[in-house]
Symmetry: C2
Subunit: 228 residues, 2 copies
DNA sequence: CGAGAATGTAGGCGGTGTCAACATAGAGGG
DNA sequence: CCCTCTATGTTGACACCGCCTACATTCTCG
């Protein structure tokens, strides 16, 4: 163990690498940031990690698995950022807004990374999706869910009044709008905006959503005005 | 011209193909549907079109451009479906809901296709994005915008009261929530749902959104409760 | 300390994207 | 009507890729 730690701080000399798995993920992240897509070759990743073109196969079954690991790491850092953003924020509505803003900003600042997180999942009918990735995504989602649960049980979001089904739907809707907005912003399809006003717009979107949950349940037409 | 038409209905015999560009797009669509991803090779596309592996380069600068053309075609058929869904529907709120439902269904039924539409756009800082693709996406968006404009000018969506900025934002928010919901549904991240209830959930989401626009502007806290 | 599991390297195979050189077909002016 | 020009296909080649098998080195732990 001490040997491993040592190897990680001095330039990896020896035959064995120490923590190649992590290095590969980091190299992939570099390439992702540089080229803004994930068409880079697995061999190039290996080169960056100063390792033969076949070494990665000891850690990942194929390229797809590497990308999935990168994606998973993305969900985890996103979760951490959201978590840090709401430290010490007590009011659930304020927390929800902060979370949304941080989320959108993360996506806009790391467009390729963000797209990879959702894009690499594809193909997978359902089961092919690596468990780590699903877990990481759930971890990120759970931040939203927790906030909404908190608001529901403390009467800040009276519309949800502790109905677990409504809470789930509210979380899903929250994620939907924030995710959709982020994707459109990344793709430059949000033309209506003054180009630099993304932060403000993101805050408005998040704010509006929170307000929707705060409003007391009054509407008549549809019994399911639970969220949005 | 008549010669061209003839060649398109009998098995393409001659040296020249007639409408290879379209054939390539169709072949790519087939592969996309079969493999549920766009990792198929350009050469395979050429094979399906019964053409040498280099013929595509007479119509597309590279593989990316082919994919972009496929994506553009996707936006156009999506637009058509939405348009057909609201034929004869007069009330803007009802039209908005129908549009949303059709949109989500399209995404869920053609997950890889839908993801390609948004996924292939990447990399492009802004200008690399082929103009055709941008146009097609705008054409799809314009359906939403038109409905919302109609509702705004006919007082069905009083919150927007003909403020063009609010209308733009409302359209963007509408697209955001529908797009986000679709993506999450595709990725199976909408666990809260009974698995088959997507249609119902989609309708609820759309309905709620429309309701949000219909409600009269009453909220106090934030002057910008324009949408959602 | 010695065997076996982990983890690395070397080399090869079929396939890929793209380029360059050449072939054929259709269109339009002499 | 022919003859050239251009659009569109074809063939061949190159470097590179993903992934496989075989082999080498190191680590672990009984």
């Amino acid at each position: 163990m001490t040997a491993t730690k040592k190897r990680r701080r001095e330039p990896p000399r020896s035959y064995h690498h120490g923590d190649l798995r992590r290095s590969l993920i980091e190299a992939a992240l570099e390439l992702l940031a540089e080229e803004q897509n994930w068409n880079f070759s697995l061999r190039e990743v290996a080169r960056r990690a100063r390792v033969s073109h076949n070494a990665p196969y000891n850690h990942f079954a194929d390229k797809q698995q590497l990308l999935a690991a990168v994606a998973a790491s993305g969900f985890l850092t996103l979760r951490d950022r959201m978590r840090r953003a709401i430290e010490g924020v007590d009011r659930p509505d304020a927390a929800l807004v902060k979370t949304g803003v941080v989320y959108v900003r993360f996506g806009i600042e790391n467009p390729a990374f963000y797209k990879l997180m959702f894009g690499s999942v594809l193909g997978s009918g359902e089961a092919e999706r690596p468990e780590d990735l699903v877990k990481a995504a759930d971890a990120a989602k759970s931040i939203l869910t927790e906030i909404i649960e908190r608001g529901a049980s403390s009467a800040v979001f009276p519309r949800l009044r502790n109905d677990p089904k409504r809470i789930q739907l509210a979380a899903l809707a929250a994620w939907s709008i924030v995710h959709g907005f982020t994707m459109l912003a990344i793709d430059g399809l949000a033309d209506g905006l003054p180009r630099r006003a993304f932060n403000a717009a993101a805050e408005q979107v998040a704010q509006t959503f929170a307000n929707g949950l705060k409003a007391s349940p009054f509407q008549s037409e549809n019994k399911e005005n639970t969220r949005v």
